[in-house]
Symmetry: C2
Subunit: 269 residues, 2 copies
DNA sequence: CTGGTATCTCCCCCAGGGGGAGAGTCCAGA
DNA sequence: TCTGGACTCTCCCCCTGGGGGAGATACCAG
């Protein structure tokens, strides 16, 4: 039986942290003296403590650590861990994008932006729509796109997929998100259903590369809109001209960003 | 002039976050209405907001973001950013170590540990000693080793360097740390001075690979000590048989870990 | 038995964000 | 000019995963 200080020395987990892990049900001491409250650990618990230590170094949330430790089957445990390694890899990819887009931001001469004003007519499409948290957009997007493809089959010449992004997504971190594919006769299947997109006047530009870097282009487009004295209204639109479905080379990806505007002197009476 | 909601849509920073950045002096609105408190931003502030966004994605602390934005000289700014990219890289290395050591921990059959009992005689060495936080050990270690090498010259055959780790380092996250190199006539120079290391009985094993993974070996050694009914006392000792000074191949590194013990039936009267 | 050290619980603090209440402000349409 | 809805304000609390420190007990060796 090891007192907490001794166990701390053995595992390199601080006493405070061990107590917290006890409270949290992550690592229950083998024995807790009922009268004194002293925690006593056994040497058998050292490996467990070290697994926790490692998982925490990988920023696995305590709740997930608990789940991993609770998995009785070693295979299942390995699967749970692998899941987090995937998450780590995704995070690394995000980091890479952030670094390169930071370089772009800090570069002295930003290339001028090509912006086009376009009147988008009303159109009926096959769409999936949901209330989504900003953090979940990536996951949701993948699922929705898969469902659209399942309902409509392989890409046709009806046009690339697109999305409508509620302003609340940016302002409050959650809002409505609509993903669509053009279709002459939109089916109803699963979450897919026909939706009538209203006509809208858009200021349009094209973002090159990873979607994670798109907010820089958003800013440039927004600046243009502000500078050219047009008024903003309604959800932002995107169209995925070239994306991960088309090529693995993310440098070749093209996302059209459409910012709804009132064209001065045209829409005003 | 853009109200906060509009600016939020343009930069993809949430309204809450923009307010926080204002409070924190990171991104001051161009104008704050004195009577209403409304924040108004200019379109020129969009690039700044996006730089902040990117830096935060890289987990740069707000204080450092402030410093980077405050740097007037672009070169200086680039240097500050580069500093953080170095930190990111170091973190990535730590992650890799954690992953591989996690694999080792979850492997079904841990190889048996070679433990040796050794009576270490009293010895006088050239040492640097300090009170250090656990987080700063790496930095402190590098500095202290450099200072030792400066005082003693290139490696001799007097033996590899070593360290003494106070228990408080593991239990509370800070404690005394002593780094030494054996020397017949220890000099006094800078922080380097002669120190008499007391004689001690050690349970010794050798850790292979990155030092970041050593705590697993610590646990195994500790288990052995507990199981073999010896009592623990005093600071842990390490000796750096092969380290980054010797080879870049971290798989070849060897760290001897010595756990102070009383040998039953020998030290007892 | 006594004193020093270990350990207990409890409360407050940190970063960097989010939720929500309640009040005041802006602006377009009637 | 009024009015209602949308926008924004401040303020307080909560989250995660830790750390600092106080004050009270427990353990254990001399």
């Amino acid at each position: 039986m090891l007192a907490i200080g001794e166990f701390s020395r053995l595992t390199h987990l601080s006493i405070r942290t061990l107590r917290r892990y006890h409270e949290g049900g992550l690592l229950e001491p083998e024995l807790v003296d009922a009268s004194s409250g002293y925690r006593y650990y056994s040497a058998d618990q050292i490996p467990t403590a070290q697994v926790i230590h490692r998982l925490r170094e990988l920023d696995v949330p305590l709740a997930d650590v608990r789940r991993i430790l609770g998995a009785s089957d070693p295979d299942q445990r390995a699967a749970l861990v692998a899941e987090h390694l995937v998450r780590l890899e995704a995070e690394l990819a995000r980091t890479r994008v952030a670094v390169s887009s930071l370089r772009r931001l800090l570069a002295p001469d930003p290339p001028p932006l090509q912006v086009e004003l376009r009147a988008e007519p009303e159109v009926t499409v096959a769409a999936v729509e949901d209330e989504v948290d900003a953090d979940d957009v990536g996951t949701w997007f993948a699922g929705a796109m898969a469902e659209l493809d399942a309902a409509l089959g392989p890409p046709t010449d009806a046009g690339p997929p697109g999305g409508l992004y509620d302003n609340g997504l940016f302002e409050h971190g959650h809002g409505r998100l609509l993903l669509y594919r053009p279709s002459a006769e939109p089916p109803r299947r699963g979450r897919v259903r026909p939706v009538r997109l209203p006509a809208v006047e858009l200021a349009v530009t094209t973002h090159h590369g990873e979607h994670d870097g798109a907010d820089v282009t958003y800013g440039q487009l927004g600046s243009w809109v502000v500078a050219n004295a047009l008024t903003v209204a309604g959800p932002v639109r995107e169209r995925y001209l070239v994306g991960p479905r088309d090529t693995d080379d993310s440098a070749a990806w093209r996302t059209e960003i459409g910012w709804p505007v009132f064209r001065v002197g045209t829409d005003l009476p």
